[in-house]
Amino acid sequence: MARAVSRNTRIGWTIAAWFVALLIFFPILYAIITSFKTEQEAIAGFDLIPSFTLDSYREVQSQYNYFRPFMNSVVIAVGSTVLALIVAIPAAWAMAFSPTKRTKDILMWMLSTKMMPAVAVLVPIYLIFLRTGMLDTRTGLVIVLMLMNLPIVVWMLYTYFREIPGEILEAARMDGATLGQEIVHVLAPMAVPGIASTLLLNIILAWNEAFWTIQLTTTNAAPLSAFIASFSSPQGLFWAKLSAASTLAIAPILIMGWFSQKQLVRGLTFGAVK
């Protein structure tokens, strides 16, 4: 609803919004600033003006190869997301279009697994990984992250699919489409916005995941989250280097998020406004 807002109120709100946004963004901003400082500057105390040295980046790159964990992150985030979608699309389809009495219960049960602290299943999963030789492998991480995010992916897709009128799918069936053709030609194209935002959100979740990635990897499959963690090392904290590593780790996802923000906002507020 349109409401008359005076100019002053609007300016006031704009300033307040910028202030809150800056407050939330500040830790990231300060990490970026710190990454351009020397180590001495970094521990010297609060200072917003760095000396713009790239030493930390050079050192991070020479001591620890950035591209290896970067590629691991890409493979793990994209791999687990694609795998999750392959599993979740048929599941959400079934729940949205031929629900049973227990569908709601299954959805709640799936979501309830997300309420359990991950550490509670660390030992069994670690042992399974150990026995099956999946420790420190990309395959292992793809599988475990896929399973961790699956409930959210199914929920999101279920919500999107519910918005698609069942009559359109029945029309496709009358038109001679098989179940597969119905999903490929009718359901998926209509659900593209929903599938896209689910995909983006899941990539972000998988990229930022720092519990399983750190617990189940050492060097081979370690993604960027583990890469950052390795800088809080026994040698002590090197703030500038840690900041440079963090900046490098978050930069790709930040850039991706920036370019897809419209899609993300639509995805996250989907169904809130009819």
Partner: protein
Amino acid sequence: MGSITLKNVRKAFGEVEVIPGVDLEINDGEFVVFVGPSGCGKSTLLRLIAGLEDVTGGQIQIDGKDVTDAGPAKRGLAMVFQSYALYPHMSVRKNIAFPLKMAKMSEAEQEKRVSHAAKILNLDSYLDRKPGQLSGGQRQRVAIGRAIVREPSAFLFDEPLSNLDAALRVNMRVEISELHNNLKTTMIYVTHDQVEAMTMADKIVVLRAGNVEQVGSPMELYAKPRNRFVGGFIGSPNMNFLEGAAAAAHGAHAIGVRPEHWQLSTTEGAFPGKVGVAEHLGSDTFLHIQLNDGTPIIARAEGEFPVHHGDNIWLTPQDGRVYKFDKQGLAL
């Protein structure tokens, strides 16, 4: 070819029996209308024929072949939905061609059939638009186009006109009837609007609570309703019913007189009453009358009948136009 036979078809949703057992014979090329009040099972019956719902019992045959367990695609029927159910991401052209693409028809043949259908339905200039850019009537035409390109053995219409405004509804009604005359394909049409049923059907199937109350041509149903329900449902405005002494005089539990079958007089007649609302349309006059014993009656007079609110009026049923019903509501 498209003859359809239902043999004791039953449908239950869980414990609730929606269709207790229907036997029906639909001949090739017939325009059959399923009509009844909402919730009478007419749409369910159509969906059973389409294969979108599984039957609980009984058999469905198309052209003598048992299709009870065949999927919707295997039955060779086409359906037009109430919501049109167009594919919103496809152009009109692709919408119409979709069933042909599913049937793996060659591109050239697809193009030929689509342009033929578009010509019949006046959709030539809209072929590259998306459904969202069309009006309700155009969308309905696209839905019909998608149905006719397949050359199905029968068309199924599920209340296709109920989302259109009144004027457009009349136009589309004529267009669909015209289409039936041209294609001569079996059509099954579901509606709750008895005017649509009367004007379009070769054969009307009146349903109530999942039961077939009567099957017949519109004029058969009008002239010889099997029971009080059919008498009351077919015809507009509805049949008037009188019980008690008036009915006993005809040797029945209840009598029915259609609004157009009253002789009206301002001086004398069988039943005296008072005029309530009088609707003067020029071509007809509809009078809402309250008889002196309190029974509400609707009467139709041809042309102008000059009475007004509060006037006294006398009604007499026309000779041979009284429908008699027994205590169970069956016609005598």
